[in-house]
Symmetry: C2
Subunit: 390 residues, 2 copies
């Protein structure tokens, strides 16, 4: 199973969870951005660990799963310092997406998604700043959550752009997803569902036609389950304007996060990763102040669209996983398109769950449900309800 | 001796030169940007060689030295794809500058300079686009030449910015330097010297005071040898304006050279190297067109300053070799200062020779002599004459 390559190189680790927790018997992996006591945090970059002390405690998310009885079975490959959403890491390798072996797994939580999809563990921790749980969940056909921004304790997790950073997790089935979510959210997953559905027609229009078509049966099922639905735009200002705001705020903040390291170590990075940081360092204040205002507009729009007991649905990604090993000039515009659908997460911080279950030419593609801030458990309950009526 | 680390990793190579040439018995090394038949050209970057066919012939410069009887004893470490002037390569390591072991060797012809300085070979080939022979010659205390741009055949040498690229060489003593130069330039090194010296007072003023002071005896010796001298400015528009022009034209051209490789391979690079390429890709046409005009002004100024039989002298670098392993925020302004003195080479293409012989606190520092275009052999003759009257 090791050959699947979802785990980072080096000795396999195993940390036993509490004997009697609610997750006893489950196995989990942690993206190599989460601290595990005594093990270097690799961050997907060979120049990251050197000169840093070993973690003296587990990250909060790791400790929480261990306390609930789950066993930690490994640390997983990530895009370098979480900068990437496709999951190709030239230092550690590209984890195999078992649902589409010639395709990328999605990133930056690439190894966590690949490990769960391959059955190497029951659940796995990831991080999501600009799409890093949502994109691999969509590409690998998994349940995956980006929780409400600011809800979970991120201590021991390597930051990227703190105003967008979240910790999330993956599962293959809705029941496991719900059990893990109840622990991580510290909230019972009730059976009460939202009573109104918003279908974001601009997002469906933005995705490839085959993607929107493939998701249609899931949308109809959602609408039947919830009872009341309407179509509306997610982004009146344009998905491209929202994406531009995120592509301004996130790299500028990421550069702030990593600039001391860059200055001290002149680290080796893939060109595309270095480029994101260089661009982050060069954005003029005029562009950044515009992006901050647009973020306020995005927050206001999403608060208006999503009163309590309402959920919005949209394609998680506009395309299924692209082939591995493509040139930057093909991947760059694709990445920008993916960002158009993911940007709302980093900008507004609403919780979002990817529902698997559809495919395009055999490739997984996910439907996202997004709720009001704090409605994470409701989204998980809806995911379970959707699976039950399969 | 291998521990000195000036050579690239892998099996040592040895290519015997012609039995009876004028350089018979001399050993030489070639910067790992020059093709050697059957050996991958590494270019200082681990993602460069893959997917490329092995060279089917030697680079012109390598063949020329072999034909003259010198033996090729190794390929030397270079800054990645020649982008760097300090000689710290995080993939291949930093060659040891035996004249200042805690200091950088200078780059990008770092291994070639280090190997000659350490006595591992008699001469070595380097390349100089923005200072890559001149800076390591100054830092390692060697004779080194940047020939007239366009004079030598660069076939089989990896290009960076073709309008500035040259191939040069190093030696520890003036006689070896002259013997190799006669072969490479295909011109007898006569004994006729220039009859006028221009002392570039703006360049001496720009260097650290200790550097200018340390070079003073060599300047006086030059003046005595030549007989007639005067002070003048090199750059009425400002050394900083000349440097800005070079820092615009060179990275923009380098990006053109490497953009297909970057696009196809998304190569791993040190952040500083990727940054140079990213910046090169982002320069607006307004800035580039200004730089092209400034280059014309530089060419006109240097043609006026340097009629035939005239030579100009200036410090090769404004400082001796800085300590190894310093952070980018210390190295970046230092690199910019070095570029202020080197820019004229890439912009105007005049031949330049570094004369060793001075030190600051024990660290080598070089005096440069620059002549009219095509006067390479006259500069070599002057270097020999200077050594003779030591």
């Amino acid at each position: 199973m090791e050959a699947i390559g979802a785990f980072v190189a080096g000795p396999r680790i195993f940390v036993k969870g509490q004997e009697s927790g609610v997750l006893a018997g489950l196995s989990f992996a942690a993206k190599d951005l989460f601290d595990v006591k005594g093990i270097p945090t690799g961050a997907g970059n060979h120049d990251w660990p050197s000169g840093r002390p070993l973690p003296t405690r587990h990250a909060w998310a790791v400790q929480t799963l261990l306390d609930a009885g789950a066993n930690l079975v490994g640390k997983t490959i990530t895009d370098e310092v979480s900068l990437g959403i496709l999951g190709e890491n030239p230092f550690d390798g590209t984890p195999v997406n078992v649902r589409a072996p010639d395709r990328v797994p999605g990133g930056s939580s690439s190894g966590s998604a690949a490990a769960v999809a391959a059955g190497l563990c029951d659940t796995a921790l990831g991080t999501d700043t600009g799409g890093s749980v949502r994109v691999p969940a969509s590409f690998c056909g998994l349940y995956g959550i980006r929780p409400t921004h600011g809800r979970l304790d991120l201590s021991g997790m390597l930051p990227q752009a703190p105003s967008s950073d979240t910790a999330g997790w993956f599962a293959r089935d809705a029941l496991t997803f719900a059990r893990v979510s109840a622990v991580m959210l510290h909230e019972k997953i009730s059976e009460s569902l939202p009573d109104h559905l918003v279908i974001a027609y601009d997002c469906f229009g933005f995705a490839d036609p085959e993607v929107s078509l493939a998701l249609q049966p899931m949308v109809e099922k959602l609408a039947r389950l919830i009872g009341s639905s309407r179509e509306d735009m997610l982004a009146p200002q344009g998905l491209s304007a929202w994406a531009r705001a995120q592509r301004t705020l996130q790299p500028a903040e990421a550069f702030e996060t990593f600039k001391d390291w860059i200055d001290e170590r002149n680290p080796r990075l893939a060109f595309s990763v270095a480029r994101a940081l260089v661009v982050g360092s060069m954005l003029p204040e005029s562009e950044r102040s515009w992006a901050r205002l647009m973020r306020e507009e995005v927050r206001s729009r999403m608060a208006w669209l999503l009163p309590s007991n309402t959920v919005l649905c949209m394609p998680t990604t506009p395309v299924p996983a692209p082939p591995k090993g493509q040139r930057l000039s093909i991947l760059d515009p694709l990445r920008d398109r993916i960002t158009c659908l993911c940007a709302q997460g980093g900008l507004a911080g609403h919780p979002q769950v990817n529902l698997p279950g559809s495919t395009v030419n055999g490739l997984p593609i996910g439907l996202s449900i997004i709720g009001p801030r704090g409605s994470d458990a409701m989204l998980v309950a809806l995911a379970q309800a959707m699976e039950k009526i399969n």
